[in-house]
Every structure is written in C-alpha cells, then in structure tokens.
Point group: C3
Chain length 279, copies 3
Amino acid sequence: MNKQVPVITLLTDFGLQDEYVGVMKGVILSINSGVQLVDITHALTRHDVVQAALIVKSTFSYFPTNAIHVIVVDPGVGGKRKVLCCQKDGHFFIAPDNGALSLIIQDGNVDELRAVTNEAYFLKPVSHTFHGRDIFAPVAAHLSKGLDMSRLGQEIGLSDVVTLDLPAPFLSPRNALVGKILSIDAFGNLITNIDQETLMRFGSGQRLEEMVIMVGRSKIRGVSTSYDSVKAGSPVAVLGSRKLLEIAVNQADARTYFKAGLGQAITVKLPTLKDGAPR
Amino acid sequence: MNKQVPVITLLTDFGLQDEYVGVMKGVILSINSGVQLVDITHALTRHDVVQAALIVKSTFSYFPTNAIHVIVVDPGVGGKRKVLCCQKDGHFFIAPDNGALSLIIQDGNVDELRAVTNEAYFLKPVSHTFHGRDIFAPVAAHLSKGLDMSRLGQEIGLSDVVTLDLPAPFLSPRNALVGKILSIDAFGNLITNIDQETLMRFGSGQRLEEMVIMVGRSKIRGVSTSYDSVKAGSPVAVLGSRKLLEIAVNQADARTYFKAGLGQAITVKLPTLKDGAPR
Amino acid sequence: MNKQVPVITLLTDFGLQDEYVGVMKGVILSINSGVQLVDITHALTRHDVVQAALIVKSTFSYFPTNAIHVIVVDPGVGGKRKVLCCQKDGHFFIAPDNGALSLIIQDGNVDELRAVTNEAYFLKPVSHTFHGRDIFAPVAAHLSKGLDMSRLGQEIGLSDVVTLDLPAPFLSPRNALVGKILSIDAFGNLITNIDQETLMRFGSGQRLEEMVIMVGRSKIRGVSTSYDSVKAGSPVAVLGSRKLLEIAVNQADARTYFKAGLGQAITVKLPTLKDGAPR
C-alpha cells in the first residue's frame, strides 16, 4: 500500500516521432513491470549534451530518493565512449561518458561512480546503434529491482570522466556581472547562467529590485518576483524555477521580443554604478 | 489486486520540449509513488484558457471516479489569482481561477469548491513562476493519498469564480441555427459550439440527414454518421466524439479545405426553409 | 510484489496536440486502473497504415509476454472495416482490419485471430468517429483483466484479413540487390526494406565491409558496425536497430545529406562485380 514504487526517468534526444522511447520502456517493463516511468523530455536538440547536463542537474532532486535517471544523448553510440553509473544524494544516474553527468558530479556528494561493463545486465546481442535499448534500459530496470550497483563494473575516479566547459558568469572591469543565455525554453524565456547565489553575492546588500539588467541595449529595472509583476507584453527579469536569472516577457516570448539567441551576454549592474542617462 | 489505483491527469500549455511536465510528475511521485499519471495534452496554445475549459469538460467523465484533474494554464502565475479545487460528480479538479473550471462549474453538480491556500501542502519555498510544480502537483498528490479536501482552504461561492464569455449558438431572423468554430483538432476537423441537444431541438422532427450545413458559401447536405459516409476528399458534417457538430473532410484536413479559422460562423438550415437555388 | 503488471501499448496517428490519447487512457483506467500504459508513438503520418505495420512488427517483442498492443490508424473508422484481435507469440494485438497487423500475421505463429464484434466490451453508445475510445481502449482493458479472447467475436481465417503490398528487395539483372527506403526516422536515418538475412544471403561469404551501397549516385563503402565508424558528417551504412539496412550520416541527417525520400531505391553491390571506376 504505502510501498515505494521505483521510479525511472528518461531524458533523451530521440524525439517522440519514432518508436525508440517506447521500445526502451518495453525493455524496462520486460525486466520490471512494476516501475513508474517518467519522461523528462525527449525533445533535446540532437546531441546537445550541455542541455542534457543542465536539465539533469535542475530536475533530479524533485524525484523520490532511489529514483533512477537515464540520460541517452549519445552521439558516440557504438564507439569507444564509456557508460557511467553514478550514485549521488540517494539517486542513480546512467548516461554515456560525454559530459551529461559532469555537472552533478562536479556538485559533489558522489557516493559511487562506475563504468558499466557487465554484459550480464545487457540485452543481447548488443547493437552498435541503440544502446538506449540494449544497455541503458535493461541496466536501469535491474537497478530498480534492487541490483547492487557494484555488479555493473569497476569504480572509476571522479576526475576520469568527460567534463563540459561551461561559461561561468564573471565580473567586468567596470564591475558589472556578465552572464550568458544558457537555454531558451518553449515559452521563449531566456535562462542565464547567473544563479541566485552569485547574484546575491554580487549585490551584497543591494536589493534585487534595484539591480539593472541589460539584454543587448535594452534595460530591465529590477529582478521581479513574478512574470506578472509587469503588464502583459513587457519584459521582466526573475529568478526562475531553476533558481537562475531568467529574462521573460509577461504572457509573450522573450526570444522574439529581444531577438535573443543562445550564448548572448546578459549583464547585471548595480544602481550605485550610475548606469547612465536614459536613452 | 482489484484495488483502485488513484489517477492524476495533467493538462497544461507547457509543451513537451522542456522538463516542466516531468518535474511536476517528480513532485507528485515524491508524495505518492503509487499513482497513475495521465497526460491529457501539454500542447494547448499558450494561455488559452478557453481550450483548457473545453477539454476538461469533454474529457473528465472518461476517467475513473476519484480521478484528480490538474489544469495548469496560468498566465497569472505568481500574481493575485486564486487557486481553485472543485469536487464534482466524484472527480476532483485543481486549476487557477481564470475560467479553466468555469464550464464544468456552470454544468452544475458541484459538491465542493475551495480556494487552495493551505501552504502545508505546498512545495516550499513556493516560487512565483512555477506553481504547477510548487502548488498544483503536491496538492494533487496529497488528494490522491486521501487528504480531505476541506484541509486545502476556505469554501467559496460558485458565483465568486472567474467565468468565460463563450459564444452560444443562436437562431437567426431567417430561422437558421448559427454557431461558431470553437476548436480545430490536429486532424483539421472543425469543432463547433453546436451541441447535439441544441441541434435536435432546432430540427424538431426533421431528420439530421435532411439538414443543410453552410461553411462560408459551401454547402454540406445532411449530418452524417461517420467521416466514411462520403468518399475520401469530400466534406462531411458529423456529431463528433465530443457530441458537438463537427465539419470534417474524409481522410483530409477541413481547415485547409475550407480555409477555416477559429470563430468562423457555421450555419445549419432546415430543408423546409427553401435554402435557395444551387449556386 | 513480483506480480506481473499488465502492459498496454498504444500506437496511433492522433498526435499529442488533442485530448484523444488521454481519453483512451481514461477509458482503459476506468476498467483496469492497474495497468502500465506505454505510448509507442502517436506521431504516425495520418492514415499511414504501412508505417504502423512496420513499427508493430519491429517493437512488440521488446515488451513482456501478455502485453496488449493497440494500433489505431483508422481511416475507415465508422465504416465497414472489421476490428481484429490477434494472439501471437504470447502477445495480443488489436487493430482495424486495414493491413496494420498484416506483417505480423504473415510472419506466422498466429495462435488466434478474431473479428471483434461483442458489444458487451465496448463503451456505449459507440460513436462512428472515435473507435479508439469506444472499442479499442475498452477491449484492451478487458483483455488486461484476463478476459478470454474467445469472448470478443468469431474466429476468422488468416487469409481473410486485409494485407499490404510492400515492396521486397530483388536482384537486378546485373546481380545487384535493389531495395527501397521504407521509413525515415526523426534523426534522418534512411531505413530500407533490406533485412539482415537477405543481405547475408546476397553476400554469401562476402564480408559486410566489402559491400558497396549506392544511394542515388553516391557510393558508401561497406556496411559498418556503428554510426561512429566514420567521422562526423560522413555517410555510413549500418544494420540498424530494426535489423534492416540503414543509411545514416554520423551526427547529421541523411535525409538532407542525400536529399532522399521514401520509396527511393538503395542498391547493394558486391566488390567482385567490379562496380566501376571511381567517380
């Protein structure tokens, strides 16, 4: 009754047009039909390991302890890249060794990290084109049945995994905080790499509503508490649901409004800096 | 064995590109891992409360009693709009107070209606940008575990909720029944606001196959029983699966065929009215 | 605990924009709330029975025995076409009699084949426009509860079902194996009708890596073991996850690269044939 049902989440760039996600679920259910399967998204841009890493980092903690998170963004499928299994904060993660797990590994608290090599838990014969079906799915299913992670393969060092070279926000010579647009969601909200903690440290006492945010040559006054803080059609900066500084337009699309793109700079200034006369 | 598994349905305008729907499911499963989660659709046009209201009304009764229906189309998130929880016909509904529940409330049989305010059942801290995750999901999960609805907040009156101003079909001076296209589905079928009952009352004895349906200047003879009643590529009027008059083209797309759009008038005439010479 | 949870898979051309798939799930859960529901895909091209048949054939065996596979690609809904229920290899299949099941039926091992006519297991009143909701979903749900298939309707002969006229690969006068592109997946991979067995028989001793594959006037040397066998941006032929010859471009889109389309010829030659001077 109150027994915890094991949860497996799936994050891929397979899309939902083909049968590939369904087949992975079939393989999982053939091993453990009593799991909860949750799609995080399958609409990642093809081979976009960076978005995969950002999404894993910002989602996993909303799931129950012991959840198993499967990430298949795998441009190197069938080649020499390793398959990783990581345990951290009571969650399990399975992904190719291409950086998809690097952000959560860098965040610390890793309890165990292994290269998955034990073919006893694979679907055979293992194809060279669809490890999601032949390796990731069955390994996740076996873990959901309580398989000890040590059975999957040898431990590897935290420094032996592929890492991503993500831009960090930095202080400009004129003492502005300079970040970048890391993701744009389907609402057109511009999600930056400026996290709440960095923003607070930068402000050191200045209140959020006094900061000035520059998107190109456009100026937004203050970090607001909700999209709704401005009238419909107006731009607004908020600390979004990922706890990152986010530029939105209330009830509209900030990507279109600002003609913004991934990687574009977003700058935060403090009012004491005299941010200039109005344009 | 034959125990009823609780069902939670999700209807949002989040799309499936981002991780937002997956995160809501994580929050639900963290509270109750033993639920059935069903996606109604997440492809609502952004902020289209009218479509949300129409879909809730036409879908909920196909689910088992005690199902919990979560609707997150929420342009006012983080602002002053209330969150509603409604019990009706043995089903539960949770949605922002923006009209999404107004059609089912107007249909009567509401057993209980409350403003959701008890933060004990929220995910904390509550963000101002993602109440789907912080309020709707955890409240639904607690209800699925049997929480008494009275714990969520104060009762409010049926007349205190935001309503929608939807067009109703009407009789023209020349005694035609004039409706509108309310929705267009992905098949391109044009779904009107003319329900079966209104059509029957209008016909008063005339058989459906004798009515004449006008889409712009095009004429369709009779309300047929299936798309297949006409040959492929021909237009056809049917009482569709929502029990609303629907204009389709057999094995093709009526939106394209008629260059039709939302809100366009659809007129039904009776043969005794002498609907004129053929054009 | 280790009890097998019944699995129902859904394969339709409904898309995910509308509420139709969700409603089918509601009907199923109203009859049996304890099932695992798996979406194979709902993004089939409208009325594309051939893709449906190919996907059913290549996916079903990845699911647990006793899984119930529901296919709703149904241009003839409400017309005279039959509804089939088939048992084969311990799996159940429910689909309109339009060819969707013809490939698995032709593959043999059919244990039982019936026309579904017993309205006792339908949702009433049965509409003429949405048999997915009114017939397919409830019949699948009843099967998942252990209903004996013989209750659904009369047995019919294997030769009484609608079949598809799919092209088979053939030998050209100059002894090349000529196949066709049957499907193109969302990665842009070109999936042919040349299966592994036919390719091996054709090669009779020649190794896969010595074959030459022609896509239009472009030549690919050898059938490789993985996409990764060539450098990014280069074309590659592999035996894909469906065990069919597949033309891909490593980390890119073969459809765009080759300007390829469905039905286009793909030719395989053996090196002993002297496939001509390099272009």
